[in-house]
């Protein structure tokens, strides 16, 4: 314990140590050490450091602390990988395969919404969740409602539209986010298949007259689901910058408060 106390005594500022180190160590040798003495010496050293540091040094120390803390948190939080696949929607043929004029964007948006609802249904997602054991609770036979909600939140769709007003090939990107990059890629592949199957069912229903008339889109996968190389979260650079900023603000506030207290103490003396 005495060794620990002597080590902690080295945390005092050098100016303080030059003046008091010898007598302080003599005191530590005389006294029967207790565990709480270590805490007392540590707090004493930190307090002394804070009262002797200048405004700039307090701010700098706080910045470094903020940066290191943010980086430590970024390594502690589970990463998230996003796999994405690009699906093109070909609107050049109707349900029977005959050429048609370009379907309106509203038609395509409505079709995408309907397809997405089908893909996000419990009956579509549960087999995928069971296949890859996603968000699983080992004791549960079927995924819980919370797990399904979590799965839905991990899936997102982004429309891709032609930049010009001329007929183009609109499409959409299917994203899936998961802590494991390989599973993210595989699940995204299954989601793409679900979209294709849902579209095929709608077209068959449209041709057979069972469903509402459809513009006759066909889906084609332009970019297959990729294997994400880097996590999309946490972005360590952003975390570090955030930690630095918080440390800077915190340091300025602490230094200002300490300067104000020092002036009050000096005035009282």
């Amino acid at each position: 314990m005495k060794r620990i106390l002597k080590f902690l005594a080295r945390l005092y500022p050098s100016a303080w140590r030059n003046r008091y180190a010898a007598e302080f160590e003599a005191l530590l040798e005389d006294r029967t050490p207790r565990a709480r003495d270590a805490f007392d010496v540590l707090i004493g050293a930190l307090t002394m450091q804070m009262t002797t540091l200048s405004f700039v040094r307090i701010t700098l120390a706080s910045c470094v602390f903020g940066l290191l803390a943010a980086l430590a948190i970024s390594f502690a939080v589970p990463p998230k990988y996003v796999s994405q696949a690009l699906i093109l929607v070909d609107v050049s043929a109707d349900g029977a395969g005959h050429p048609i004029s370009n379907a309106s964007q509203n038609d395509i948006d409505a079709m995408l919404r309907n397809t997405l609802e089908e893909v996000l249904s419990r009956s579509s997602l549960v087999p995928i969740m069971q296949k890859y054991n996603l968000y699983s609770n080992e004791s549960a036979a079927a995924p819980s409602d919370a797990a399904i909600i979590q799965m839905r939140k991990s899936i997102s769709i982004e429309s891709v539209r032609s930049a010009s007003s001329s007929p183009g090939l609109p499409g959409f990107i299917v994203y899936f986010t998961y802590p494991d990059p390989h599973i993210a890629q595989q699940v995204d592949g299954d989601l793409v298949s679900l979209f294709a199957q849902a579209n095929l069912r709608r077209r068959i229903a449209s041709v057979s007259g069972d469903g509402p008339p459809q513009p006759g889109e066909t889906f084609s996968v332009l970019d297959a689901p990729n294997l994400p190389q880097k996590p999309s979260f946490p972005k360590r650079g952003l975390f570090g910058a955030g930690g630095l900023l918080v440390g800077l603000i915190g340091g300025v506030v602490v230094a200002a408060i300490m300067g104000w207290r020092r002036r009050l103490t000096a005035a009282a003396d």
Partner: protein
């Protein structure tokens, strides 16, 4: 009542002492066990304000003495504490 600077000044008012002797003395008369960090935090502040001063010594154990300004400050602080103590006792007695 457990302000370490007042406890150290009160201890030194009874005679010059080094750190360990101050701790023993404070524990005896106030029942407070000062930690090493707390004690030297108080000693540092008191010396900076000129209320105590080191006494020449060949030993590593540095003794301190209370200065005139330190006695004045201690008088003032104990007077304030005394007023609080008397008011508290009076009110307890009235209750």
């Amino acid at each position: 009542m457990t302000d370490p600077t007042i406890l150290v000044l009160s201890s030194l008012a009874g005679g010059d002492k080094h750190g360990y002797a101050m701790m023993e003395d404070v524990e005896r008369f106030a029942g407070v066990r000062l930690g090493p960090g707390t004690l030297y935090g108080a000693i540092t502040r008191l010396e900076e304000r000129g209320w105590i001063a080191p006494v020449k010594s060949e030993d590593r154990r540095q003794p301190y003495t209370i200065t005139g300004a330190g006695r004045e400050h201690l008088h003032e602080q104990l007077g304030n504490l005394g007023r609080i103590v008397r008011a508290g006792q009076r009110r307890l007695g009235d209750a």
